[in-house]
Symmetry: C2
């Protein structure tokens, strides 16, 4: 594959850049036409790479791209999952180059989606192309590339149920995560789940002059702040009643195994420019992001937020709040518990509404599985170091659903790095990871 | 005056509407040209009304309009203060008619500034016109109409110091407040002061993926909420160290005198559509908004606030926080105490910045003063009921400054009503109050 990459490098980048130039932001309805453009583009790329058939399927939301090359029904079938939708680009003013005008700087591709997940999904298309053109196919290969991962895949689970036979496979292969570092390759053996809600706190039925009413009428922003503050106690534990009921405590041995991943606290703090970390008492930073649930406010707004000063006592305040869950916690149960709890702590004088957004459950992948072992050998060969198992703090809720629907394990071979700042301005993807990823994927097929 | 109003009603409204159509929003730099247009328009109106001279003066900020008619140096001189700038119009979608297209509905003028303060200042120009044209002038009259009241009058105090002789007067007359009700006329005998700050809480130096970092890295929104929650204790008292040091407790007699103003709690709650009020323990709703200080978050923002869901752990969170002060509290001292306190409660893992906006001190006006007595008699005659003294919860910081600079008392004859929802969508001004205000002002000149 190394040789093949060297010969085709320029074409690969040109093709990827064409995909990156399409602003396929799934959360914004104005980008609907871009979703179709991007899906059609990927369909063409799959056909050019060697798929026997490829289709853009309608769903209740954004379209799904499906492609396959079935060589021999007796062979094992691998389903590659990826997504072509991307996160919004705000705050746009912090980007050093336009998010949808990909640029190579210092050995990395800069663009929204460069890593998450256009860049990573693209590696699979090219590894597939290599196998086809060099006559190295030893598995049947299927692709499913969806357009709603960043908004919680609201349509894909139903679509997958309706197309269960089409998607039938022995293993699901996914590159949508990070590894610990270029010199510390790792394979995710578990992901956190997610419950995401939006809350609205209403005080008076209109915006008021804070001079005339301040002090007597409950201010919904103050009330919201107080309610949010009550959600986490002084030990960093979430106070939602029943929240920890289904959390499985890891054994000391498991914690030690995961603790093998190298971690430099000073580097971590320096990278983020923070003087200290904080979280649930009794757990390390890696455990807090890997094996423990958490709660974060992802957005808050209310009142006057423009330039200058306005003395308003607003009618409403809003927040987006998400909880990362660990395997065995159910995202719907947690969203319900949150709603009950949040309503129960509302002070008099305000009304509270909780609206659930998408959610998903976490999951675990056995290290002993043949797929994990094959990936470990492939990555070890490319990087010259045996990869360590890690637990991903992020969530790909749809994978837990697909795992259930298709009854197969997902294998998470992610080649992103922390430095890529996905979801943030200046998302990037290191070229070296891009190429090593392709190589590792090609080798995986040899060892699986 | 009643007769004169009847004869000129249409012209009055046309002239006022021309002023209301100018979007003189002082907080927004893009409206700078509108400030000049509005100032020039008012200068013309003053000259047409009978001013001997009128000028638009440059300041370090928005221009000031000055006009005067000096008839006899031995007469008492009255300085009328008003402002021609208005509040922003957000949320614009809640307006039933365009904020800068004045409209009469159900006996009221609807427009931004209809009451605050274009409508109220306009009454003075027309009462002045009446005195001039009917040969009833018995005082020298000066006008000062500023363009920065809604942003805290940053330039006027210095300008007034530089033009002390020009502004020399025996009493300052101001209509920029409300009365209790159409059937319960009242005169403000005190106003609250204001300290207004903007706070910025910074966590990590970039927006992060909440899945990868959530649980370990301090979220600046959660931190900000917690800090805001700590600012008010369970008794509704502000926890800023030293905040109450200069607050003068009112005597039981004074509290009873102010308690004479009628107040219907059920009506109040129904008007605001709230199930309960809340505030500092041990005080009534009227006391909480009149004679006690308070703290309100006027705006809050951070993270992802768009449509849908984004799993971001943001770098920054912001809030605008204001404190209403009572006479004897110093706004600069309070802003400093706030900053010290707010920095002291910042948790590890975040950095906090506090930026003061404008502020001003509260003040009191003696009920026994001849000006208060003349106003009381004039309003009593027009409304058929003796007005009650009240304490305004709002702040006109510049009045406390002018009081000091010019060494005169301000008299607050406000004709606004609560229903006018100034600073909010659908600001309005009842025509009946508009005309009764003019009459009361004209009579004031007779009795003073």
């Amino acid at each position: 594959m190394k040789q093949y990459i060297a010969e085709n490098q320029e074409r690969f980048l040109n093709e990827l850049f064409e995909v990156l130039r399409i602003p396929s932001i799934s959360s914004s309805s104005e980008h609907k036409p871009d979703m179709y453009r991007c899906a059609e583009k990927l369909k063409s790329l799959l056909l050019e790479a060697g798929a026997e058939r490829a289709e853009v399927y309608e769903t209740t939301g954004h379209p799904v791209v499906y492609g396959e090359k079935i060589v021999d029904p007796s062979w094992k079938t691998i389903l590659i999952y990826g997504h072509y939708d991307v996160q919004p680009v705000d705050p746009i003013e912090l980007w050093h180059s336009a998010p949808f005008e990909p640029e190579i700087r210092n050995g990395a591709i800069y663009a929204r989606g460069a890593n998450d997940d256009k860049g990573q999904a693209f590696m699979h298309i090219k590894a597939f192309e290599y196998l086809v053109r060099k006559g190295l196919m030893r598995h049947n290969i299927k692709f499913i590339l969806e357009g709603e991962e960043e908004i919680g895949s609201p349509s894909l689970a139903q679509w997958a149920k309706d197309h269960k036979d089409l998607l039938a496979c022995d293993i699901m292969l996914v590159s949508d995560t990070t590894m610990i570092g270029e010199n510390t390759p790792s394979i995710n053996c578990g992901m956190r789940g997610l419950a995401y809600v939006e809350v609205e706190v209403t005080g008076p039925n209109k915006d008021l002059h804070s001079g005339h009413y301040g002090g007597a009428v409950v201010n919904p922003i103050n009330a919201l702040c107080s309610m949010i503050d009550q959600l986490i106690d002084e030990n960093g534990r979430i106070t939602v009643k029943g929240f920890y009921d289904d959390v499985v405590e890891l054994s000391q041995a498991d914690r030690e195994q995961l603790g093998r991943a190298p971690f430099d606290m000073e580097e971590y703090k320096e990278f983020l420019d923070i003087d200290d970390v904080n979280g649930e008492a009794g757990y390390t930073t890696q455990e807090r992001t890997g094996i423990r649930p958490c709660l974060d406010v992802n957005g808050i707004w209310g009142g006057f937020t423009g330039e200058g000063a306005k003395t308003v006592l607003p009618s409403k305040a809003h927040a987006k709040i998400s909880m990362r869950l660990v395997p065995n916690q159910n995202c719907e149960t947690i969203a319900r518990l949150f709603e009950e709890h949040f309503l129960s702590i509302a002070p008099k004088g305000v009304r509270v509404k909780v609206t659930p957004h998408h959610g998903g459950n976490g999951f675990l992948i056995p290290i002993s599985s043949p797929a994990y072992q094959a990936a470990s050998r492939a990555i070890g060969e490319v990087y010259g170091i045996e990869p360590v198992p890690s637990r991903g703090g992020g969530s790909i809720p749809i994978l837990a659903d697909l795992q259930q629907i298709l009854n197969v394990d997902p294998l998470l071979m992610g080649f992103g790095l922390e430095r890529d700042t996905i979801h943030s301005p200046n998302e990037s993807y290191l070229l070296s990871q891009f190429y090593k990823g392709m190589e590792s994927i090609a080798l995986f097929y040899r060892y699986f």
